[in-house]
């Protein structure tokens, strides 16, 4: 049972480059999220999705874009990488039907922008 899978696990970007962090889940969860974790901080919500075709901004959306064409996939795109986007990114999903609020997390993607 894979759960939430994120790729890549590590990436180094130059300022101004673009990239996409991939996230897929096999639990048929409606809700999916992208968080970023900076050193010594809790997680901050970047974007979330309540179902295929529906996305919305979280607390820190600037510099990012998302799409949700299928229930399984929720990629996060960085268009013009900046040093402030150096962080660890976590994708997560949750089950709307169970409605407990519990999130299932991927193992994270560590991004460095130089």
């Amino acid at each position: 049972n894979a759960g939430v899978t994120q790729t890549p696990k590590f990436r180094i970007l130059k300022i101004g480059q673009s990239m996409t962090l991939q996230c897929t889940q096999d639990m048929n969860h409606n809700y999916m999220y992208w968080y970023r974790q900076d050193p010594g901080m809790g997680l901050k919500l970047i974007y979330y999705s309540v179902g295929a075709g529906i996305t919305d901004k979280g607390e820190v959306p600037n510099g990012y874009n998302v799409s949700r064409s299928t229930t399984e996939d929720f990629p996060l795109r960085l268009e013009l990488a900046a040093p402030s986007q150096t962080s660890v990114y976590f994708c997560a999903s949750s089950d709307r039907v169970q409605n407990t609020g519990e999130l299932f997390f991927g193992e994270g993607s560590r991004l460095t922008v130089l």
Binding site: G40, M41, G42, Y48, L103, G108
Partner: protein, 114 residues
């Protein structure tokens, strides 16, 4: 609006002694509260959750937490620390009335001394 305050950024205990990690919350709704644990270079794992059932919640690995509405607290405890408990712990409140996203505390790093 909702928020979480973890009162200690670092806690150090000796192996075999009790653990107390403190958390206060603020929420406009009847909250769901969680403790997540993050081991180094890993994703987050659910430790325990409170969802308006019993106020004393038992989780994995001997941890438990008590929901105290009058004190708006949700402190995490364990009677006897183990070396494997060394990790980062996050207190989290869930927005069940809306997007079901989580609001994270800033984390408490637990150090366990031999």
């Amino acid at each position: 609006a909702q928020s979480v305050t973890q009162l200690d950024s670092h806690v150090s205990v000796s192996e075999g002694t009790p653990v107390l990690l403190r958390c206060n919350y603020s929420s406009s709704y009847s909250p769901s509260l969680f403790w997540y644990v993050q081991h180094p270079n890993k994703g987050l794992q659910l430790l325990l959750k409170y969802t308006s059932a019993a106020t004393l919640v038992k989780g994995i690995n001997g941890f438990e937490a008590e929901f105290k509405k009058s004190e708006t607290s949700f402190h995490l405890t364990k009677p006897s620390a183990h070396m494997s408990d060394a990790a980062e712990y996050f207190c989290v409140v869930s927005d069940l009335a809306g997007r079901r996203a989580l609001t994270f505390g800033s984390g408490t790093r637990l150090q366990v001394q031999p």
